[in-house]
């Protein structure tokens, strides 16, 4: 029964039927999964609203996109692609660690998680390099709204990733103190979903931040800005 089907039940009637139906149900306990779904919804709203403000702001005269012309800083995307590769790899490694948890030794399990953490740090370091490059070329946070959004988006995304890294480190510590493989791998499954999600968010941000003024115009027209 879906949520909306549930809403049609007349709770003052059918009490035995309901009792029977609920007694037959096996325990279904996945609070982490439910909470993660809601958390991802919250983060999605956050990034969505930033994106809407970005698109809206992109239609003002003073907005200068960061790509689209040869002299613009994000026209050369090689570092960003490299960073994308790192976060993709971190996501894949975590996926493997959670999927093959039963088939690999605890030591390898831990190693894979450590590699994912390391790759995430490399990603953040890579993003920082792009920041440095921007600053060196005079693209400061205040000099143009496109720059402001670039620092804002990448910073916020990195913060979310750091939050995930913190959770992974905590998991590792708990696993070292209390080696419970089952709870470790179910927690890993959640973090791997989180990494996939952050990878997807990054792809969207990447596309958004490296689009040209014309592209923004088309998107804004489609959105009715």
């Amino acid at each position: 029964m879906g949520f909306f089907n549930d809403l049609t039940v007349k709770p003052w009637l059918q009490s035995e039927k309901i009792d029977q139906a609920t007694a037959d149900k096996a325990p279904l306990a996945s609070p982490g999964k439910t909470a993660l779904k809601f958390f991802l919804a919250v983060v999605s709203v956050l990034f969505l609203l930033f994106t809407i403000t970005f698109l809206s702001r992109s239609q003002f005269g003073d907005f200068q996109a960061l790509a689209g012309e040869p002299w613009l800083p994000l026209e050369n995307k090689s570092q960003l692609w490299l960073n994308t590769f790192y976060i993709f790899l971190a996501s894949v490694v975590l996926h493997g660690a959670s999927k093959y948890a039963g088939k690999i030794s605890a030591r390898r399990h831990t190693l894979l998680v450590a590699i994912a953490i390391m790759l995430s740090f490399v990603f953040i370091q890579g993003q920082y390099q792009v920041w440095q490059m921007m600053i060196t070329n005079g693209y400061f946070v205040y000099s143009n709204p496109a720059n402001s959004f670039f620092y804002l988006f990448t910073g916020l995304h990195a913060l979310h990733l750091l939050g995930g890294v913190f959770v992974l480190l905590r998991l590792l510590v708990i696993y070292q103190q209390k080696p419970n493989k089952q709870s470790f791998s179910s927690a890993l499954a959640l973090t791997s979903t989180y990494w996939h999600y952050l990878f997807l968010v990054w792809l969207c941000l990447f596309a958004l931040l490296t689009s040209s003024t014309e592209t923004f115009k088309v998107i804004a027209e489609l959105c009715g800005f």
């Binding site: 029964m1 709770p11 003052w12 009637l13 609920t22 403000t53």
Partner: protein
């Protein structure tokens, strides 16, 4: 979908010992709820005092040297923000949500107790940051609770230095705290209900809190986004919201930002916020009314659908706060229409409360008085909302005292009436003692009549065109002399109502020790929290085994049954009937 509560693992349920683990770093939802409640009420009292100061100035202009135009604006701002976010949201969801969700759905605790504890301490941090702005140079922000840029961060506005920064940081911290708590509430409702507790058997209190929490989770990010972007504008010199501007004769570095963008973001949060406050209140008042009228809630399913529908609609009405900011007339039409549509499920709820009372066995207890008081204040506030939802009526009334009267009736007084109803209703369960009934009744009548003495005349002031947020009216010819005496009368009433709240505070503190001992279920209520083996409930709530739910939460005055209520945890075969037969449940007409 219902299943065995995941928290039903008594062997892992180590009860904390020692004062610190039990009452300070506690992970017990009941203790956290009380921590939330005490903090919220404390900070709410500060906001109450601030409103008293505003009223002193308005009622008796220029009589108090410690109130100048800047401090007046700071009082307005801090009063609004504290009341809406740090008192109402925190007390309704952090306080009552925490206390009631596990008890009403039959769980031992929230599903993530540690996160729950963290949520409270983060909330406390947000409060400390906010209150600290009273003590920094320049004082707290005086930008109005809506914090509109550009004035919010420009020199000339009180608290435009550190005050506004502390406000924005505090809001961001609050949102983090709320998200931690909110994830807990929704997950507990969805995952930790005891056997037999289907979604449609949940009391309306839980429905209200559940949907309000989802609204909060989806709406607070808009406030976070605006807070972060405004902090960037203030601290890093970006121009998200700041247009090219000349301030105090000096051309600033900003250019091209859109203040309207901030308004959209703010109200995309701000309007759902009204329902984040209202929905838990709707739910709790439904349960108080049904219990004290000894009657099942009229139209339970409609009530649930209305809560869900209001939740959904609340995201598509935000721009009715911005009619005077200017917008495409088609948008104005759209937002006016959605605003009027939201009145349908809301009115449905009011009718259902009244119909629940109709032919009920009404017990005029203190909680019931407050609940009935709520029906009055909410209807009044709601009806003026219908006026203001229309563009042509809103334009002349906007920024007058009519709006102040409207929103105070609908989302100030009304939720507070429910909060009082709820505190009095659940007090015997939370403390194990009765409150003092006589004091409770004095508290009700003085508060109820007092709020009318405050807000009814304010509507009239609004019609006269008296503008809100003004420190003094100056030599405004269109404001008659009578408006000034009316303002004085409002101020006297406001101060009386403020002082009357001391009766309430005294009552709840005095009764903690000297109140008569209360039995487990003093009101004859049906929902699970009244069926706990201990009163107040102990750590883990349910003793060795979790309760099993056999019915909805509104089996009051069932024909043929010996008692006028059947608790949710009683099976049909255990219901005592007058003729000794077995209860076979209700039949469809």
């Amino acid at each position: 979908m219902t299943h065995v509560a995941i928290a039903d693992q008594i062997e892992e349920d180590h009860e904390p010992t020692g004062f610190v683990r039990k009452y300070i770093w506690s992970q017990d939802h009941k203790v956290i709820a009380i921590q939330y409640a005490i903090t919220a009420i404390f900070v709410g009292l500060i906001a109450l005092v601030l409103s008293g100061m505003m009223r002193l100035q308005l009622g008796f202009p220029d009589s108090f040297s410690f109130i100048d135009p800047s401090s007046y604006l700071q009082f307005v701002t801090m009063h609004g923000m504290i009341m809406v976010i740090y008192l109402l949201t925190a007390l309704l969801l952090g306080g009552f949500g925490n206390y009631l969700i596990p008890l009403m759905v039959g769980a031992r605790d929230m599903v993530f107790p540690y996160l729950n504890m963290l949520s409270y301490w983060t909330y406390l941090l947000a409060v400390i940051v906010l209150v600290s702005s009273f003590f920094v140079t320049g004082g707290p922000t005086g930008a109005g609770w809506t914090l509109y840029p550009p004035q919010a961060i420009l020199q000339g506005t009180p608290g435009a230095g550190k005050g506004i920064i502390l406000m924005l940081v505090s809001l961001a911290i609050f949102i983090v705290a709320f998200t931690m708590g909110g994830l807990n509430y929704v997950t507990t409702v969805l995952q930790a209900r005891t056997r037999g507790m289907t979604l449609m058997r949940m009391p309306l209190t839980i429905w209200g809190i559940f949907i309000a929490t989802i609204l909060g989770l989806l709406a607070f990010p808009a406030l976070l986004v605006s807070a972060i972007m405004m902090l960037f504008d203030k601290l890093l010199g970006t121009s998200f919201f700041m247009p090219a501007i000349v301030s105090l004769g000096e051309s600033l570095e900003f250019s091209g930002g859109s203040p309207i963008l901030f308004q959209h973001l703010f109200w995309f949060f701000g309007h759902p916020e009204v329902y984040i406050v209202a929905l838990p209140a709707f739910g709790m008042v439904s349960d108080v009314i049904a219990t004290h009228a000894r009657k099942n809630i009229f139209g339970y399913r409609m009530m649930v659908w209305a809560i869900v529908a209001i939740g959904g609609l609340s995201f598509v009405v935000w721009a009715h706060h911005m009619y005077v900011s200017g917008m495409n007339p088609y948008f104005g039409f759209f937002f006016a229409t959605t605003t009027l549509i939201i009145a349908v499920p809301t009115a449905l709820k009011v009718y259902n409360w009244v119909l629940t009372l109709w032919k009920g066995n009404i017990h005029l207890t203190v909680p019931m008085l407050f609940a009935i008081g709520f029906i009055f204040t909410f209807t009044h506030g709601g009806l003026t909302g219908l006026w203001l939802g229309n563009v042509v009526v809103d334009l002349p009334l906007s920024d007058t005292y009519f709006v102040v009267a409207h929103f105070h009736m609908v989302m100030g007084v009304s939720p507070v009436m429910v909060l009082f109803a709820a505190i009095y209703h659940w007090y015997p369960k939370i403390t194990g003692r009765y409150f003092h009934n006589g004091l409770g009744k004095w508290h009700f009548w003085l508060t109820f009549l007092g709020t009318y003495a405050i807000y009814l005349p304010m509507h009239y002031l609004g019609f006269l065109g008296v503008p809100r947020r003004y420190f003094a009216m100056g030599d405004s010819n269109f404001i008659p002399e009578s408006a000034y005496s009316l303002n004085a009368s409002i101020s006297v009433s406001a101060i009386i109502v403020g002082v009357v709240q001391l009766i309430f505070l005294f009552n709840i503190i005095y009764s903690l020790k000297y109140g008569k001992k209360a039995p487990a279920n003093p009101w004859g209520a049906t929902s699970l929290e009244w069926q706990t083996p201990d009163t107040p409930p102990r750590h883990g709530n349910w003793g060795k085994t979790l309760p099993v739910v056999h019915r909805w939460a509104y089996d009051f005055s069932v024909p043929g049954a010996k008692q006028d209520f059947i608790p949710q945890s009683v099976a049909n075969e255990d219901v005592e009937m007058n003729d000794g037969s077995t209860f076979t449940g209700h039949k469809e007409d």
